[in-house]
Symmetry: C2
Subunit: 199 residues, 2 copies
């Protein structure tokens, strides 16, 4: 793009590398920052730098945090006898937004995938088992993604945790709110039928 100044082309290119941001959005964002105040642009740039400098993993649950433990683990009002197991730190946000969960979390940082050489050792599974040793945890909720690899891992976790006498549950499968039966896929509709609930 030799018709735009290099600093503009460069920022468009950087924005364009981000997920969900195409060339048009990247242009729009760049020109937005150009038009707006220096303060707004600086605040964004600094927030990016601070994020990468400050964020590490919680020593208990491996969620992202800027302290030794994360805000959820630090919260004494939460129910520490329930652990919700997720694949990635970003999975915690949507669960919190439901306002239906008051327990704590454990982040595995991936899913078992033999094809990619990711076994249980590569994930925070040993650390999860360590947290279950003292008998204070009564339920583990497996909140992994509904796909083949994660399903297999969920089964594996269930098989190693259940013998400890701890209740193991998983997120319900069924029709998402707003779905239309006519367009539902076979697997989802099949699971909705199998797991049909009383009114």
């Amino acid at each position: 793009m030799r018709f735009v100044a290099e600093p503009i082309a460069r920022l468009i290119e950087e924005f364009n590398k981000l997920p969900g941001i195409g060339p048009k959005s990247a242009q729009r964002l760049t020109y937005h920052l150009l038009r707006n105040s220096d303060e707004e642009a600086r605040a964004l740039a600094e927030a990016i730098i601070v994020l990468k400098e400050k964020i590490k993993l919680c020593s208990l649950c491996f969620n992202n945090t800027d302290g030794d433990t994360c805000p959820v683990c630090q919260d004494a009002e939460r129910d520490h006898s329930k652990i919700c197991v997720v694949e990635r730190p970003s999975d915690i946000l949507p669960l919190e937004h439901t306002r239906k969960y008051n327990g704590v979390y454990h982040v595995l940082h991936g899913t078992i995938n033999p094809a990619q050489g990711i076994g249980p050792e590569e994930l925070k599974i040993k650390d999860l088992l360590a947290r279950l040793q003292d008998g204070s945890v009564t339920e583990v909720i497996i909140a992994t993604n509904p796909n083949v690899e994660s399903e297999t891992m969920a089964m594996y976790l269930q098989r190693i945790i259940a013998p400890l006498g701890i209740r193991v549950t998983r997120l319900a499968r069924g029709l998402p709110f707003g779905a239309e039966l006519e367009y539902a896929d076979d697997l989802t509709l099949g699971q909705a039928l199998e797991n049909r609930q009383e009114f």
Copy 2:
């Protein structure tokens, strides 16, 4: 969001301020940067800082540039006898992408809007007239947006430039490519009829 670390909440908030980026996209971008390399995040932050530090206005056409004049004005291979008048620097990019224009530009930096107290003096109109004085410019193409304020300004520009003996044209009005007659608005279809072209 007291359940996420402050640096994460802060960057989500900053991304969320940008146009076209809602809360979900802001989360996605933040976690993307968190997962990826420090280098990627730093490159983005630095590109933002450099943009704001380096970019000023071209002394000839008022396009954004990091030099005294912009890459278009500097380009000796372009036809400097044609000036395309646009409202904002960001309007140049889509025009360049068409590869149908080889002239230079003039950026007005806004549109006349009496309701908002923006008169001709607030825009780079005097500077445009100054560029037309030496007789080297033979055509001015008005490429303002197709809306009421900009139309009024386009008429105004035509009225003051035409007496200088310079050809004044504007972007064609008509049906956009891919449009369906059935859903076209009255004004667009009316203009497409009025401006009908020979095959």
